[in-house]
Structures are given as structure tokens and as C-alpha cells.
Amino acid sequence: MYGKKVKLRFLFLVLLLCSIILTVFLVLQSLKENVVYFQSPSEIKNLTKLDKKKLRIGGMVKKQSININSNEVNFIITDFKSEIMVTYSGAVPNLFEEGKGVVAEGFLKDRNYFLATKILAKHDENYMPPEVKDALGDK
């Protein structure tokens, strides 16, 4: 029969393989559930069906669109082709301003209305999220 050493090696390999398969399975499974897609207002206008999943929308905050009351912030995200209304109740980041880039995370109510759960902060006034840059095209 095989020696003890070979058996040990074999056992080790089986364990290794099992744990790799388990890891890959687990990771892929929860990636599927937890990934958040990014879209621009134009892409949302062109959606054929509305998903219930969490989304990120990026673009510019339209000039003079910010409207605040005691429990919400309303504003419009635009990519200069299409616009979408956003309602948000939560803390806004420091660099949230009219005419600046913004990324909002949340859920679509319909093609024109987005309920945000989070607005992402940026650290640098020159920095624009790559997605927003792409979404805005040449602008």
C-alpha cells in the first residue's frame, strides 16, 4: 500500500482543492448578490425593464436643482443628455455642490425618479469618478 507520506500529501491536496472550490463558490455567489452596477441617466432612460436591485447613478448635479427641507435633499443628476430626479435623506458629503460631479447609490422608482440611500464623497475638487467622466463623454 501507499506510505504514510503519500497519504498525507494526498489528504492535503484534497483539502486544498475542497477549500479552493468552496472559496470560489462562496465568493462568486455573494458577488452576484452584492455587486452594485453603475449607470448614467441616459442609460437609465434606455432601460427596457426596471430592476429592483441597488444601483449607482453618476453625473453632474444640475444647476439650481438642489432643494432641501428638514428631512430630505432633492436634486437632479444630469449627463447633459438626460436627467433624473433624486430624493435623498441622509448625510451629504462635503463636496456636494451644484454643477459638480456626484455619485448616488440607491433604488430606482421609475425612469425619472431615484431614491438614494447614499451619496459618495470625493476627496479632491479636481477628481471626478472615472464613471462620471465616461458618462459625461467629452464634456
Partner: protein, 623 residues
Amino acid sequence: MLASQIGFFSLVLGLGLSFLLSFIAIINFNDNKKSFDNNILSLSFFQLFFVIISFLGLVVSFINSDFSNETVFNNSHTTKPLFYKISGTWGNHEGSLLLWLLVLTLFIFLFLIKSKEQPKKYRILTLLFQQVIIIGFFLFLLKTSNPFNYLFPFPREGLGLNPILQDPILAIHPPILYLGYVGSSIIFSAALSAVTQNYITKDWAQHIKKWILISWIFLTLGIMLGSIWAYYELGWGGFWFWDPVENVSLMPWLTLTALLHCILVLEKKVALTSWIVILAITTFTLSMCGTFLVRSGILNSVHTFANDPERGIFILIFLFILIFLSLGIFFLFHKEKNQNQIFWLSKETSILVNNWFMMYFLSVILIGTTYPIFLDVISAEKISVGPPFYHKLISPFLAPFLLGMVFGPKLRWLKSKIENKISLIILFVISIFLTIIILKNLTTDLLFYTILISAAFFLFFSTTKELFFQKLNNISQTIAHFGFSLLILSILFNSILSSEIITNIKVGEKYNYNKIEIFFEKIEEKKESNFNSIIGYFKITSEDGKFVQLRPELRIYNQPKIITSEADIKTTLLEDKFLAMNIVKGNEYFNIRYQVKPFMLWIWISVILLSIGGIMSLLKKRI
């Protein structure tokens, strides 16, 4: 002007010395003269000296606000306080790479001094490998990100440092983190050199362990500082966001921690040799990747700063060269010579199990961090992976990991039995009961948290017991493990018990929620040298009628024009009260976020305990 010039030429001289050193080292490889050692040492000292001069040259340019230097122009401003002029030196890409280089040369110099009793060929080869890395960084610095670029005609005023970097903790965070990152370079070089010399032995383990510990301690503290900064500066009230930039610092920490434990095995018997070399290579590669990912602008991170993709390509190529070089050396030279005596119940096995978990955590984080990049390249789809992904995949495995930390250290080397079964069982039962009593009315996800928290309590009690009753022969390990259990407990209770109120409020208004009253008394404006600040006066009355006064601040910086919000935090032993305020232009409403965060202080304390464990292990005399 002058300082920049001196800095630049010292940099070139340093690069020249790199080649000279490598050349001399190769020529004298088989030579055994004593004088040679001193030559190498003094040359290495001069290299360090030139890099220091170069670094000081940049610091002086920053202090003098010499805007003929492009780096200074981009990142400084005359009205900035002196402290931030100095810290601005490494608060930018070019300067931070110069700091990398400084630490690289510092470490090889210290290594040469400290390793005199090691075999000569091993030392020379370590020096050579380290010089390869150093040359790479010199070229990178001079070619793509020269900190001493000359601007003419020179501007009268600089662009200023990003205000959120103008912070005392962020002034020391990069140097500390880099000491950890770059410390792993010496482990990398030494491991490769030991492989070629067939020197992966118990002696080597004892000698390299110190370097691993040093790197580990700095990395731990560096990550903690970054986390503290994010907590009070970013105004979200969290300390860890699973953001890519944070993840890339955690990944080398995981491999380094795994390596630290494996080295303990190698100290006792020749085992796990290939694994140790692979871990050493991985740690340094991940540290390099960290720099690459953060600096290249590939990552879509909340922390990303505007930067230049060309640099990324250089680092990427350099990284691939290093990986191929190291793997090549590993496969060519490495000889497996493990003593194969494995018993299931032994310290070695438990350390192997620990590594298994570490690698799992690592792969989860690695995939979560890089998957969006790949998807973007392949399909141009933009996605992000959020905290739920990490929580879901990591937390279920924490409980067995913690249990392993209870039993592992109690086992002996080679072969052992579990002793003191009864006291362990008693502690286990106590942990479960305590958890259930505490959690009874707190959370909806009872089963999940009960398992996790009782495992953490179990480790907590068993290490506490050891601290008080056991002989103190392995106190460093006990303290580190105790710190870890405290960390997990604080994080868990913090996440369960935190509460938050977010609202928009005008001056003079009161806001009531769940018997908590927030009263916005007034605002006050102040002028500082480089910013104007708006201070909000808040009086917050909690359920029990006690009140605190919190004064969050908004700073409107003049150059660059950025608003930052400084949260006001009242810290007590049991909880933090956190209030951040934001303003939206053209509105009279202020957006405020009030949080009560229990055990925040203990998160930091436990990380400090972890590193104290490391420091004690470093200082321990061998008996």
C-alpha cells in the same frame, strides 16, 4: 531653487551608488577579505545619506515655498502652516515615492549592520536583491515622477495641499505605513537570497523574525492611523469602509501575519519552507500592488486622488519583473527539505489552520478589490463591491478562527494533548451565557451574533486567564491574541449598538427623535490663516436627560477652494458621541449626522495592544 538642485543631484548620485554597490558586490562575491565588509557598509551608508539629502532638499523647498519646483507648486501654498508645509512633502505622489526610496535604503543599511553574524554570501545576495528594487524605484522616480521638476517662469503662488490631508494624523500616517510596506522588501530580498543559498533554516528564522516583526508592527499601526483619520475626518462616523485603498493595506497585513506565525514554526523545526518563501514574496508583491493601485488611478475609491495612469504602467512592468524574477529563483533553487513528522494535534497544525483562514480572508478581499477592475477591462461594465460582500464572506469564518486562536497556543510543538479541559469548558459555557444575556433584546440576528460573540468572548476569557495565572514565558503572544479578541468584540458591539440620526436643520431649531433632542444653538465664524471656519453650537440631550455640547466645524479653505467638515467627537470609555455638520451652498439648512458609537475607543486600544504584543516579542531576550 538651490535645495531642489541639490536634491535632484543627490538622487542621481544615489542611483549611481546603487550600480557601484551592485558591481562591487558581484565582483567580490567569492572574496573573503574583512575590509570588503566595511566598504559595502560605507557605500550603503553614502547611498542612504544621498537619499536623505535629496529628501531634505524637497522638505526645504516645501518650507521655503519654492514654487519653481513643480511638486511644491502643485501641493503647497504660502499661507499653509509650517507643519503642513513639511508634511506636504510626503502628502503627494512624488514626495511619497521619495519617502519609499528613503525607507528602502534605510532598511538595507540597517540590515547590513544588524546581520554581521550571518553568512557573507547570504548578506551580499540580500543586498543585491534589495538594490534591484532600489534601482527600480530610482528609475521610476527620475523618469515618471521627478519631485524636482523645474518650472519657468515660476508662479507666485502654489495650488495648495488638499485640505483633508492637512491633519496631524495624516501627517504621520504615510511614513508609518511605508515603514511597514517597505519593511517587507527586506523580508523579500532576504528570503530570495536564503533560497539561493539553501539557508532557510532555524538560524535564518531567528534572524528574519525580527524584521518581520518590525514590518508587522509598523503596518498594524499605519493601518490604525489611517482608520482613525477616516473616522473623524470623512464625517461618516465609520472606521472601515472596505474601500479598495483600505483593502490594499489590509492584504499585505494578512500575509505578513501568516508569515509571522510560520516563522515561529521554522524556528522550532525545518518545515513549511516553501510556504514561507511564497508568503515573503506575496507580502512584498502586495505592498507594491498597494502602491501601484493607489497611485495609478485604476481603483475607483472614495480616497482616490487625481493622478496619472502612465506611472501605473511603469510600476506594473516593474512589478511583473520582480514577480517573475522571484518565482524563477524560487523554482530554480528551492530544495524541499522539510522534516515530515506531522501530528494532527500540534502547534504546527494549528498554525497551518490559521494560515488557511488567513489565505481565505486574503482571497475574499483580493477578489472583491480586483473584480471590478477586471470587469471594467473586459466588458466596460462599471460595478462596485460593497461592505455587505465582505461582511457576508468573512464573518462566518471568524468564529472558527477565534476558536482556533483559543486552542492553538495551548498546544505543544510536534505532538500534544489538550490540557485543562475542565476550565476551558467552564469558560466556554460562561462565554455563551454572557453573550445570550447581553444580546437578548438587542438584535434580530440572534443566532449569528451569538456564535460570533461567544467565540470572541471565549478567546477573551481564555487569554485573560493566561495573562493572570500562567507563567509569563509567552506573554507577547497572549497580549496580541487578547488584543485581537478585544478588537473583534469592540467591532461587533460597535456595529450592533451604534445609533444614528441624520437630519437637515436650521440655526435655532430643535429636532426630536426617540427622546433625543438636538438643539442647534448658533453658529460662529472664525478666520484662520488658510481657511475660514463655521462652528456650529449644538446641545444634545439624550434619553436620560444628560446633555452634551458638540461643536462640529466646517472649514472653507482658500487654496484649493474646498470645504471640509471636522466632526466633533466626545470620547468616553464606553462610547463616542459623534456629530458632523455639512452645508449645501445656497441653502439655510445644515445637514447633520449625529451618532452614538459604543466602544470606539476600545477598537483603537485593542489594535495598540496587538502591536504591543509585537513589540514585546521583538524585545524578548532569547532564553
